[in-house]
Symmetry: C2
């Protein structure tokens, strides 16, 4: 992506949001989805994603389930009930975050 450091701190809410909208996803799918939603400009690295998924599961925000498709392992993640609450809160923070950015950068839509 253009400037990776802009996205520092934003990966966690992205993952939570995608799982809220798509019910269940596996890691590799998340990286593809983000690429697709940003015209190939935002590339989530696996070195960031997989440890994050593990810690979200450890926190009880996500739960996982393994499946085999075409003889390849997939680890599907979905939000737990607690994760759904976290998701609502996280979404509120993000909308506020974007509003703040628009204020600071004088980008308020007319």
């Amino acid at each position: 992506m253009n400037n990776p450091s802009l996205y520092k701190g934003i990966l966690r809410p992205i993952v939570i949001r995608l799982l809220e909208e798509n019910k269940k996803m596996y890691g590799f799918e998340i990286t593809r989805e983000v690429k697709s939603l940003t015209a190939g400009r935002v590339k989530i690295t696996e070195g960031a994603l997989y440890p994050l998924l593990h810690s979200l599961e450890a926190e009880g925000v996500l739960e996982s389930e393994q499946q085999f498709v075409d003889n390849r392992m997939r680890k599907y993640y979905k939000l737990t009930p607690r994760g759904k609450k976290v998701s609502e809160h996280s979404f509120g923070e993000i909308t506020e975050f974007i509003t703040h950015l628009q204020n600071i950068f004088n980008l308020k839509p007319a």
Copy 2:
């Protein structure tokens, strides 16, 4: 602020943008301005700000000038000519960043 880690990586473009719009500012003023632009929600810590200002100056993006007001030192910063080019580029990155967030979080303004 609500979730500080969201703002990781965003401080540098904020400082550059404010200096582009305000011609010259001192550190403490920057923290107040950001607070004011975000209804008190975003608080830049001095431990992040001052080292950043120093490194931006070392990079040749900013230049500084000291003044005494009411017997208190102020260090005013402004963009160098090179800083102005950096500012344009940085602004482009931020607008793209916000667009990507709106895509990912499904927040496109109607």
